[in-house]
């Protein structure tokens, strides 16, 4: 009959040495499997966050309030970063190219420079802590906040769909869906 309590003469694992009275076997295997599952969840959670960011982007273009549109530079300045750098949505239909803005006198090169700087900073934030899944999404055009918070402004070229607070509204209204998208990729693989 196997010994059910008390220290074994020859402990068979690290756990048995550390806790000699338990006689628990297979603990290391359980911990290894658990750690592997946690790593998988972290990786897939990050993927889920990226998918959620892509979803939010689509909502900001399809639903009211939509992203205000003039020359298309704000829309083009959208970005998502994760631990691997800039994440590109393969189904993205909205991101165009930067154009000269003669009204505000902002050149294409200036937009590109802002975009490069913003995505570099965001990529650094995403990659800063490898133990934590961090996804950054937003707009690199430096007037994005001004437009977003400018209540009472008239957005003539995409009226009446376009409006301030479009980004916040997309997140607030789709809170449940966003959680569901993240949940879908965060399952523990059962073997």
């Amino acid at each position: 009959m196997p010994k059910l309590y008390g220290p074994l003469k020859k402990p068979r694992s690290w756990y048995m040495k550390k806790f000699p009275n338990t006689n628990v076997e297979g603990f290391e295997q359980v911990m290894n499997n658990l750690n592997r599952a946690i790593i998988t969840i972290k990786k897939s959670s990050e993927r889920g966050l990226v998918n959620a960011a892509f979803f939010i982007r689509n909502v900001t273009e399809k639903e009211t309030a939509a992203t205000p549109l003039d020359f298309g530079n704000l829309r083009a300045s959208w970005f998502v970063t994760w631990s691997k750098g800039v994440a590109k949505d393969p189904n993205d239909k909205y991101t165009g190219k930067f154009r000269n803005n003669p009204v505000r006198r902002i050149s294409t090169a200036q937009f590109q420079a802002w975009h490069q700087a913003a995505t570099a900073e965001a990529s650094g934030m995403s990659a800063a802590n490898p133990k934590k899944a961090t996804v950054v999404m937003g707009y690199s055009a430096n007037y994005a906040m001004w437009i977003h918070e400018h209540l009472g402004a008239h957005f003539t070229s995409r009226s009446p769909a376009a409006g301030p607070k479009w980004f916040q509204e997309a997140i607030d209204r789709n809170h449940g869906k966003i959680v569901e998208i993240i949940r879908q990729t965060s399952k523990v693989p059962i073997k």
């Binding site: 918070e149 009472g152 209204r173």
Partner: protein
């Protein structure tokens, strides 16, 4: 039930230390060109309401509206001080009934932050609040 901005207006007016009087230097929805120093409350998008946690049957539901308060002024420091006072007076309030609506919580969601310097050289700051009411 009033517009949230209407109730927030009453809350700010009741706070005598802020020195805000409706239609004089406190406005709702539209920021007038005069006077130079104004406080304007805007209703903004909130989260979808719940069908549960409601009160009376004819007005059941639990709502998550939000408002933005914009303060315009001549001097950057005094304008910021005013918006900060507004933030402090509203942030964390709760369990208060205004015009028949029970506000369970009011909290600042962002700001105070600089919006811009407008065409007349006046500074504008904003602060956003999330509300919960039924």
């Amino acid at each position: 039930m009033n517009m949230p901005s209407e109730d927030i207006k009453d809350m700010l007016e009741a706070e005598s230390s802020l020195g805000l009087i409706f239609a004089t230097n406190l406005f709702i929805g539209v920021e007038p060109t005069k006077p130079k120093e104004t406080v304007t409350i805007f209703d903004t998008y909130g989260r979808p309401p719940q069908l549960t946690l409601g009160g009376k049957e004819e007005d059941s539901g639990y709502y998550y509206p939000s408002v933005q308060i914009r303060v315009r002024g001549i001097d950057e420091r005094t304008t910021w001080a005013l918006i900060n006072d507004i933030m402090l007076s509203l942030h964390g309030r709760g369990q208060e009934t205004w015009n028949g609506a029970l506000y369970t919580v009011i909290y600042c969601s962002s700001g105070p932050a600089l919006l811009d310097w407008d065409d007349n050289g006046l500074v504008r700051f904003i602060v956003n609040f999330n509300l919960q009411r039924r």
